[in-house]
């Protein structure tokens, strides 16, 4: 239990630092802002209870908000991601089902499954995040384009990160 806690704290810290010092500096034509730290919500254990998942998601987003000076935005987005995660897991469950002690990673369930899992959760996160940021439906399609491009790049970075973790 303590082991788990330590493990996820390290994962989160690494992702937070990567996000702040690397990915937040990527401003590719104004349409690409990858938010790779959402990988943390993807990796949380399968058998975590729903309310704990929501609260941890909120805290993860909130810490991000504090670090980047955007109170509420990341928190709102990560809570949405944490909220849809169980539904997505149910929708794309692999043929043999999930094993409680297995990590929800590419190494355990394969590329195809992980790709769809990451794509859906990241899409929800980015959708909420960018619309909270603009906070109106004016310029709907411009924001939507931003969501799509950023999602693609975030998913690419997340897949890279998973390959890196697997190789280690």
């Amino acid at each position: 239990m303590i082991n788990q806690l330590l493990r996820y704290t390290i994962i989160y810290t690494v992702l937070l630092l990567l996000q702040i010092f690397l990915f937040n500096n990527i401003q590719f034509s104004g349409y690409v802002n990858p938010y790779v730290y959402i990988l943390f919500v993807l990796l949380l254990p399968f058998n975590i209870s729903d309310w704990l998942l929501l609260i941890i998601s909120f805290l993860a987003g909130f810490l991000m908000d504090i670090s980047t000076g955007t109170p509420g935005m990341h928190a709102g987005a990560t809570v949405a991601a944490g909220f849809v995660r169980p539904y997505i897991l149910r929708a794309i469950s692999p043929r043999d089902g999930y094993l409680p002690d297995k990590e929800l990673s590419m190494a355990e369930y394969g590329f195809n499954w992980f790709f769809f899992y990451a794509l859906l959760v990241v899409a929800v996160h980015h959708l909420v995040l960018f619309y909270l940021e603009i906070f109106s439906f004016e310029g709907f399609f411009r924001t939507f384009l931003k969501v799509i491009f950023s999602t693609v790049f975030t998913v690419i970075f997340i897949i890279f990160a998973e390959y890196f973790r697997k190789g280690r």
Partner: protein
């Protein structure tokens, strides 16, 4: 209680989700002026729509009363026509070309917004410059004083009612013709106070108070209200509480009275000031 607990247990993740999202939105709206404004704009749009619906329903429910008032008023007007021996045709003809001899012109209007619970109350009517309504015109409710227009746009006008502490009205007690200044004390929207009536004048509860017409805004003799009680206030004058004839909480249909000779009177008076 048990059902409530069951409900919370069943939907706990959705409830928690909503709570956490609300916290996030609260944080956002607290830290960004822009988001805050957007949120307030959205809420205001919602409340305005809802208030519009409520007003519509209220007006619909009151249609019968308004109808009765209008009928009674119509009857009085018809009686007047008969009294002066005018026929229907001649009245219509006068209305059509608003005959030049008339000093006062009447413009009917509906109250579209109203307040009674402030110190400086105002209400809005749906007639403006396009309909000939301008500032400093008298507004009367159902046969009694309501207020004075203080601003007008193309289609709307703002009226300062009697129940605004800035309102002053020269009015007289009908039975003995003494006049004083009527003013609202900011307390009860049913009562106003009449000052400057000297103490040697005999007055009674229930006496009628009407306008004097000195201001060139109100025609003379329009009902203001009735005396509800009075007391001697130190000096030589009475402080008289007047029960207003107009119920401002129910104001729906008003008439704006335009004095065509107002400018002429004021210009002449200016020469001697």
């Amino acid at each position: 209680m048990r059902n409530l607990l069951l409900f919370i247990e069943k939907y706990n993740r959705i409830i928690l989700f909503i709570i956490l999202e609300s916290v996030a939105v609260y944080l956002i709206s607290n830290s960004y002026q822009y988001h805050n404004t957007q949120l307030i704009k959205g809420v205001r749009k919602l409340t305005l729509t809802w208030e519009g619906v409520i007003t519509d329903v209220k007006n619909y429910l009151r249609i019968k009363n308004i109808n009765n008032e209008l009928q009674a008023e119509n009857a009085i007007l018809w009686n007047l026509i008969e009294k002066y021996g005018l026929t229907t045709d001649s009245v219509l003809a006068q209305v059509n070309d608003t005959f030049p001899g008339a000093q006062f012109e009447i413009i009917p209007a509906y109250v579209v917004n109203n307040s009674v619970n402030k110190i400086k109350n105002y209400f809005t009517i749906d007639r403006g410059k396009k309909n000939g309504v301008d500032v400093n015109m008298a507004v009367i409710g159902y046969r009694s004083v309501a207020g004075i227009t203080v601003a007008s746009s193309d289609n709307y006008s703002i009226v300062m009612p009697v129940i605004n502490t800035d309102f002053r009205l020269s009015s007289r007690i009908k039975s003995n013709e003494y006049f004083g200044s009527l003013n609202w004390d900011g307390r009860d929207c049913r009562y106003a106070v009449l000052y400057d009536i000297p103490q040697h004048v005999p007055i009674n509860e229930g006496d009628t108070v009407v306008t004097t017409g000195y201001s060139a805004i109100f025609p003379a003799g329009i009902m203001v209200g009735t005396i509800s009680d009075f007391k001697k206030s130190g000096s030589d004058f009475y402080t008289i509480r007047v029960h207003l004839a107009t119920d401002f909480r129910k104001l729906t249909y008003v008439k704006v009275i335009k004095n065509r000779r107002q400018q002429e009177q004021l210009n002449l008076e200016k020469k001697f000031q």
